[in-house]
Each structure stands twice: as C-alpha cells, then as structure tokens.
Symmetry: C2
Subunit: 668 residues, 2 copies
Amino acid sequence: MTSLAALKSVAAAVSERDMANAIRALAMDSVQKANSGHPGMPMGMADVATVLFSRFINIDPTAPDWPDRDRFVLSAGHGSMLQYALHYLLGYEDMPIEELQRFRQLGSRTAGHPEHGHALGIETTTGPLGQGISTAVGMALAERMLAARHGTDLVDHYTYVIAGDGCLQEGISHEAIDLAGHLKLSRLIVLWDDNAISIDGPTSLSTSMDQPTRFKAAGWLVQSVDGHDIEAVAAAIEAARQSDRPSLIACRTVIGKGAPNLGGSEKTHGAPLGDAEIAATRENIGWAYAPFEVPDEILSAWREIAVRGQAARRAWGQRLAASPQREAFERAIRGKLPDAVFEALGAFRKEHVEKATKVATRKASEMALAAINDANELTVGGSADLTHSNLTITKGMDRIVPGGYAGRYIHYGIREHGMAAAMNGIALHGGFVPYGGTFLCFADYARGAMRLSALMSQRVVYVMTHDSIGLGEDGPTHQPIEHLAMLRATPNLNVFRPADIIETAECWELALKSETRPSVLVLSRQNLPMQRQAHSDENRSSRGAYVLREPSAHRAVTLIATGSEVEIAIAAAERLETGHGIAAAIVSMPCWELFEEQNGDYRKSVLGSAPRVAVEAAARLGWDRWIGDTGAFVGMIGFGASAPAPDLYKHFDITPEAVAATALRLII
Amino acid sequence: MTSLAALKSVAAAVSERDMANAIRALAMDSVQKANSGHPGMPMGMADVATVLFSRFINIDPTAPDWPDRDRFVLSAGHGSMLQYALHYLLGYEDMPIEELQRFRQLGSRTAGHPEHGHALGIETTTGPLGQGISTAVGMALAERMLAARHGTDLVDHYTYVIAGDGCLQEGISHEAIDLAGHLKLSRLIVLWDDNAISIDGPTSLSTSMDQPTRFKAAGWLVQSVDGHDIEAVAAAIEAARQSDRPSLIACRTVIGKGAPNLGGSEKTHGAPLGDAEIAATRENIGWAYAPFEVPDEILSAWREIAVRGQAARRAWGQRLAASPQREAFERAIRGKLPDAVFEALGAFRKEHVEKATKVATRKASEMALAAINDANELTVGGSADLTHSNLTITKGMDRIVPGGYAGRYIHYGIREHGMAAAMNGIALHGGFVPYGGTFLCFADYARGAMRLSALMSQRVVYVMTHDSIGLGEDGPTHQPIEHLAMLRATPNLNVFRPADIIETAECWELALKSETRPSVLVLSRQNLPMQRQAHSDENRSSRGAYVLREPSAHRAVTLIATGSEVEIAIAAAERLETGHGIAAAIVSMPCWELFEEQNGDYRKSVLGSAPRVAVEAAARLGWDRWIGDTGAFVGMIGFGASAPAPDLYKHFDITPEAVAATALRLII
C-alpha cells in the first residue's frame, strides 16, 4: 500500500472534476460493453459522489465491514455503475477493472443492481425504487441506538444516500422520511439526484411535487444546490452534517452529464450511449484515455480516500481496544444471542407444557418475547401501530423517541413497508436483532421490503398476527387467504405458523437462530389449547413438521394442519376414532420450508402412506405438495367475511365435522 | 315517499348537531351490541359527515348507482358505522335499523369494514388504510375524463373522502396525493379526521409530519378547521368546491366526541365504550332516546337530504334524455365493449398465425392493444413509468395532462400501488376499462390494491412484463420468482401467462370479457416464437390449458408449461422424440384459474395419464396440483441472477436438455 504522503503528492494536481470524469468514463464504457445498463445516473451524479467520497466518507476498502464506517446507500440502484466505478477507484480488492468489464455478466460481481453480499462494501441491495432510502432510515436509527448504548467513541458515523426521482415518488419514501424526520435522525443525509427525468420522459409527465417543501414538512433540513458545483455540494454536505435533523440535499443535475448530444435526455437513463456519443463525450469532457483506462494520478487521488479511511479505522480500533465497552460492543456486532435466551425458552416450554397454557399464539409470542427480551439486549421490537394487537412490546422495553435512542421499542407508525425496510436497515447495520409486527394481511403492504430481507439473507423477524378468518369481525379486507402461499413461495424465508404456545416458543427459537434467513411468525388472534402431551428438550418444530398424535392402531388417514387448524384436526381425529373406529394421525406442520429440507425418510415417516387431509384456513395453493394425488384439502376457496370467528369457521366449513367427513370420503 | 315540503316542515327545528348525534348514538350502540368495532371515528367525524351530507352531497338512495352522483369514500374504513349510520338515516332500502343491530354479524350488510357490493351505495371497499383516498383519486380522474368526453351536463360531480391519520401515514397516500395534485383533480375533496390519535396512542408517538404543508407541496388547496364547528366545516367545503385543485380540509376533531370520559382517547378507537360510558355519553350530548331509536323529526331531516338528491337525479335524467350524447354515454356506463374489439382480435390471431409472428409477448400485447384501442373508446391505458418497457401505449392515444382529460393514456408515475388503486377507482366509477403496466416483480408494490381489485370484482387489467429470469441483466431484484404463486393464490383473479402472440391476443380477449374479475397479463421481455399450427376461431386459452401438441404415438410423458417455457418444452419434446423415440405431449397452460374451472373430464384429457413434467421459470409452489405424485418440476429454486437471459436459463438449468432428462428419469 502506497503511503499517504506519496499519494498526496501525486494527487495534488488532480481535480475533483477529473476524479468525477473517471466515474463517467467507466460508467459509459461498462454499459456499452455490456450493451445493457444505466449510464445516465452515474454520469449525472459523478460530481456529487466524488465530493462525497473525496471529502467526507470514511470507509476502508480493506476492512469493508468495519463497524463504525460511514454507510453509503445507492437508493437509485439502477445507477449501479456509479457504485462499481467507485469501488474500483477506491481499491476494493474484489473490484478490479476486469469486473467492470464484466458488468452484468454471469458470475461477475457487477450485477445489474447493487446486491448486498455479492460484492464487498455494498451496504444494501437496491433496485426496487425507494428501498434504499427506506433501508437507510433503519441504518441511521441503528447508528443512534448503538451510539446510545456504547458511546460515540465507538459509534459515530453517517448514512449517506443517493436517491433519484423514482425513490421519491414511491410511497415507501413517504413512510421513511416521515419516520426519519420524526425521530430526528440527524446522521442521515440524502443526496437527491434532481435531474427531472424519469424513464417515460420529463418528471413533469407525472409529478408536480415540490420535494423540498415535502421534506421540510417531514422535519428535514433541506438544501438545494447545483449538483455540478463541487464547492456548493461540499458546503451543503458539511451543513447537513451539522444539522440536528435528517437532511435532504436537492442536487440539480443533468442526467448523462458530459454526453454532448444525449445529456439531459431520458435516452441516457437505461441504454448504452453508443460508440459515437461515447467518443463525443470523451472529447467533451476531455477524457483522452482508452476504455477502462484510468490514469495513475487520478487513480491515486481516489486511492488516497481509502488511505484516509484506513487511518480513521485504525484510530477507531485503538479506541475500541481501550474501551470498557469493548466486549459488549463486539458481542452486539457479532449478533450472537446469549445461550440464556434459548435456556429461557426451554424453561418456558417446560413450564407451559406442564400448565397446559391455553392462549392465542399472539399472546404466546408476547410471553415468549418477555423471556427472550429479558435474557438479551440485542432484540429490538416494534409494530406498525398495532402494538397491543400484535403484542410485540414486553415489560421494561423503553421506547425510542425523537432524540432519545436508548430504548428498544420502535413505534414504526402506520407504515408496514417502511417498518420492513427499516428493519432490514437495522439488521444490515448490525448490533441488533429487529422484530416488528403487523397483521398478516398487511404483509401485502410490506412485500417489497420483505422480499429484500430474504434476498439479503437478513435475520429480520416479522410478527404477523390475526392470521386467518379466525380474526373474525374485521372481515375480508383483514383476513389473509393467499398470504401464506405468497410467503411460502418466497425463497429463503421461513414461514412459521405455530399451533400452540409450545410451538410458538419453538418457532421463536428457530427464528432467532436463523442468522441468514428472515422469518415470519404467523399468529392467531384467538385462543388455542396447548397440544403437547409431554415436554421434550428437542425443538419439535425444528424439522418443520412432525407427528403430533400417532394413533395406537395402524393409520387409516393422516390429518395435516398448521396453526389454529391443528385443534380442528385433533377434534376431527377424535370424531373419526369414536364415531367410526378410524385411526387418524395428526401431523403439525409449522414450517413447510424446514420440512422440505428434511431427508426423504423423515418426510415419509411423517406423512405416512395413508391418505392425507390437510386443513388450513387459507388458500389451497401449495398444499398438493403434501397431500398428494389421493389427498384432500379443507380450507378457504374465496375471500372471508365479517362475523365472529366461530361463525366463520362454520360458514366456511372448516370444522372437525367437515374434516372428518372429508377423511371418510377418502378412505371408504 | 314523503313530499319534500312536508319533510322540510318537520325538519326545520332539527339542528345539524342533533343530526350528528344520531350518528354518534347509532355508532356507539351498534358497536356495543356487536361487542366489536370502532366507535371513536364515527363519533369524532359525525359533525363533519353531517355537514357534508346535509348541505353538499348529491346522492339518491333509491338509485344508488345513478352515474352522476357524488362519490363518498370512507377511507378510514374501520369507522364503518359512520357509513352504515348514514345509510340508515338517508334511507337506503337495504339498511334498515335491524342491519345496524346486526353489525359485524354473519350475513348482515354491516360488515366490519365497508365492502363495495355488499350493501348499496358503498363506492369502494376500505379498511386497509390509504386505499380509499387512493381509489378516490381514480374516481375523481374518471369523473373529469368522462366529463371531457360527454360534457358537464351529464358528468359533474365531486368525490368526497373521509380519511384518517392512518390513511395519511401509509405510503400509498403519497403516491395518490402527488398524482391528484399533478393532474389538478379539483373535484376531489378530502376531509381529514385530524384527531391526533392512532391505535398505539397519540400520533406523536410516530409522526411529526406537518400534513397541511405536505399537501400544499403536492399542489393541493389546504384548509384547517375545527371539525366540530358546523359553519366552519361548511365554509371550507364550499371553498374546496370552488378550487381549481384537489382539496384537503384538516378537520381538528376529538376522537369519540361526546363520550365524557373516554373522548379524546385511543380507547375509543377500536373497542365498545361500555354501558356506563354510553349512558354518560347520552347524558352528555342530550340524547334521550333508547338504543337504535332515532326520533322522527331527526330521521325526517336526514331523509330530506335524500329527497334533494332525488330531485337532482331527476333533473339529470331529463338532461340525459335530451342529450345527443345519450347513447354514447350509456354505452360507456354499461362498460360493454363493442363486438368490433373481439372481431379485431380474431382477425389479429388469424393474421399472425399465418405470418408465424415471433415477438416478445409484451410486444404481442402492444400489437393486440393497437387493435383493441382502435376498436373501442373505453379502454384507458397507463404505466408506472415503464411505458416503453411495458409497451402499453398505442398509436393515437392522447395523454391525460394536468387540466386536460380528453386523452386515454395516463402517466401514473413511479407509483405502482397508486396506479393499481387509481385503476380500481376508474373501474368503480364507470365509463372506462382501465389497464396499466409495470414489471411483474413490482406486483409486490401494488399488492394491496390488486387484492382489492379482486375482492371488489373489478375489471382491471394489469399488464406485467419482464416476467422471469428472461429479463436478464437487471438481476434478482427485478426477476419474479414467487409472484406467480402469489397472484394465483389470490381469489377471483385470473393470471394469464401466454406463450406466444396468439395466446397473448386470446388472453387479452378473456381479460376484457372478464367483467367481474381482474386479470394479470404476465408477459415476456424476450422474443417467443408463434406456436400454433393453424388458426382456430375458438379461443384456446379460454379453457385455461390445452394440448398444444399431441404426439402421433401414445403419450409417454406430458410436458406442461406456461409462457416463455412452452418453447423450451417443445424443444424438449423434439429431443425426446428424435433422441429416444419417446412421445411427449405439450400442454400450454396460460391460466390456471380457468383450467381449474373446467370439468374433470376435460382436465383429465389435457393432463393425460402419463407422467408429467412442468416447466416454468418460477417457484414450484402450486405446481404439484398439476404434476401429481409421479411428476416433476423444472424451474427456479432460489432467487435469480444478473446476466444475459440465455446464460441464466442455462445457469438455472431450465433448458430443453434438462426437461428431457427429467422426463427420461420419470419414465425409464
């Protein structure tokens, strides 16, 4: 590694405009070579990004996960070449020039949109618009919370976001900026690429929003600058850093800046410029170098930034080594929950098997959470304004309030999507294990960010109560039907639907241990009896499905159920036994995904060879996998209705009688 | 029906406060009797609603579908007792007092949240917060568009919305108010129940948003009034009606107004007040009547409103009868597309079978749309800023612009959720058949409103392109995996994934004819060959699935595919035939839902008795229904990746080779 002094002497003659032009050239050349991609944004925001990195951002490419680094989020993820160009210029070891030459090719690190985990230093996956800015709110919140716990000696960094018009038009941005403004997340600085161009053409085709006023209404500091005026951008960032509120810097830019004919047009947004325009751009910006060539002095100027970051990281390392907080801080960053959590959950299960506790699984979740939250400090809860319905707060959890971040409970507001994105940001930032609640039906609203939890392999726990027609009177708008299928079809997501208090505790344990996969806990509003006949140290839910009741006689039929319908299946089995002398096994299947991962022998032993009836108060889609050609399904065909829950179960024929009759039809 | 004069004389002595108290009493009594529901909002907004109806709204309860009625949308749908109380008081024939006494009971018209189609005069289904205000934007837009076509003699009404804090916190509200402000939808008037209470407690727990400033930033006229000051509310509504922009009236209210102990508290939001507080409220507001009793003079005052509406409706009927626009207007309101549309599509199919046209199905959709839009005037298109990717605009479609509503193409902006809700509003309003485009992956963003399209049985057509890894370089954030399962699991929604230009035209025909069910057209980015061997007058997609190729020999295996994977299945069949002498049938399955509706014999004849291999570049979930115990699936297991599409198909092993090898494993 070249020394700082040597680099400085080389770089002295290099202007930030030159440095920015390196980004422009790399972006247009990479998109051209790939014949796919978005040159307009990287070229338009090259100056802003250069100022941001050259003067402000503290990162160390040799330690991309250094906990106190500044976070950089490219919310306008289609401009991924901006990020890859930066990473090459800054010297990330996994981003040599060859990767830029393989932009958007199979196996390259330079995916179409920035993907967390796919290349070093990508803080979050972006592309679906609005996600980056909303995830950044979670990061900025986590920073303040971690600082409140461990001190600004160890935690003192900024979250910088580059966002486009699309990010600010998406609804999720409203949820994010309202939450950030409310909580006074002063370390959040959003640089808006105000180029007035969207894919269809000028943004005036579809919006007349006065964005600065909108952000002011949300309590943000707002500044407007010429995004190509280096000093103006720098001054605005400096003022933003001093603010006691989150900051928007509206950077007026020209999309495709530098391209003499296409600059300023939507034509530069999502297509290569073409050889002729690229040549003209080279001429126009005075870039005399070959494709993918960056002269040494400009590269050195960029690498100097990394050297500054390294120095900061080393100084931080010394503070950490000397800190009384060191052990606690490192534990938090590792994200490993103490054994005490799982011991507490084990004791919890034993206690409630013995007591045969009958509660709604949402209540069981609250009780389990009390044990979990008492036994660790990393879990941070919240709800999208349904705290006392989701039962997500436990005794002694202080609230996060504007300017006060020492608590561990977040009132996310009526913002399911914003909550999910913020939880992604909290998990990505590190130091916490976030969980948050809403009604299962409103997974619809949170979908965009929930998918990213899964794609980014983040341990985010969704507590989704009121999980079926069992919620009763609120009616079909609130009764999930297709939501289980939607979530189960999502890759890398565990969907847990526990049947009783014991399974609820087991599923919580599995969710907390699932460090690279988000979980959804699907919980009932209504009371459900405890179903276990004895305590076992083994977490029986861990295999996804298991035989809850094996009849003494040879199985004539297997009844498979999840959640609140396990009780119905058991009652059906009793009817079959006493009324018809038919032996029915009960399989509880709290997690399809984990069951699918078991070996074939185990799966066969659970499912058995007798005909199967599945019972779930939801859509059938997906169940044929488990019931097979000779099986049957008892569940919902259409939407629900508004009535007390017991009336609805009867009305929709999801009853022990119906299950028993279905079983009889199969086996007689 | 009592005469207007007689009613007036009775009602003269009745104040609007008395009329509002009738709402309060009915709301608290109904919630108490149901032991479930939300009294706080109806009681808080009773005064505002009374002013709105008594002085402004033109509706006729005896003709609830009168096209030129004012629209009333209760966006804060949990306050459904406000709407039911109004409907009883106004005299809707399906809302006698007995229905209020059966609030939230099975089979009653008084569902937990207002449901369109479930009781007369409910303009849209609400409950999921933010949907009402966003749907209302579509209604207000449709009103202007219909007026532009048929004149203000026939179309001249307002859309009034009551929205709560929750509606305004949800992200979708941002998309809606930005679009409404941009398009200057001056007939949209939103009355915000500014009670500063949400479910968790004071809204200050989670928001510091300056809502008036926010709405001003979006180009709205904003007024703030005491929501219990009858004259102030009236003056604000009058001013809003004169505005050239959409209006927000912030009505400062006390939640549960009238309840002496609980008023102003979140405790009145979602639970009965209890007998003691109800008695105290009666005392406090001077309501000396028994539960569900409304004295004649107050009832008469309310019924007079209906009489005013009837008069307006009759006058309108006379204008219609005399209008040269009558026929065209009535055709639009009926929503029946002319035969010419379907004749054009038939000719289109014949032409392209003969030409063997090979295009992406998104391009095929554009070509079909050109024929459709030329042959009718009711279809109105749009896209969430992906017009030239979704290919949703056709020649000669003028754009809707601020203040100019004569066009038929809407730039919805980067607002998938807002677009879907607006399309619901356009469909509910009547006069148009809306379709709108985005990428299939961003069905995630639109989910909340798409579900309501289905729940409300509205003919809304979603044009969702870039439907698999076949989109290539944009990578996993843009590549749908679980989305087909999510949509197929949704009740009352047809999901079409056509395989070529012919199926695309067939699916468009089915979508347009599906008057009580929304449709999703799932379309490829990449080119796909025409697969039919001859033209048939029959719409072969209409049965959901059909045998595209039957081998001359007895079927040894059946290959089932949808969309872009039909080409792969056919190539696999050719490999099996030429390489192994194995006879494979090809089943194309563009619509699961329609296939499920066929009789068992047809389904069996298509699926056959040979082993089946399904091919779809998406999640497996749901496919076991069609492949059975002996079948296999070739598709996606996890998320996609960024690379050119052909590389991805190879990488994920969705190839003719892989399908043929899978088939061989099954049958040998």
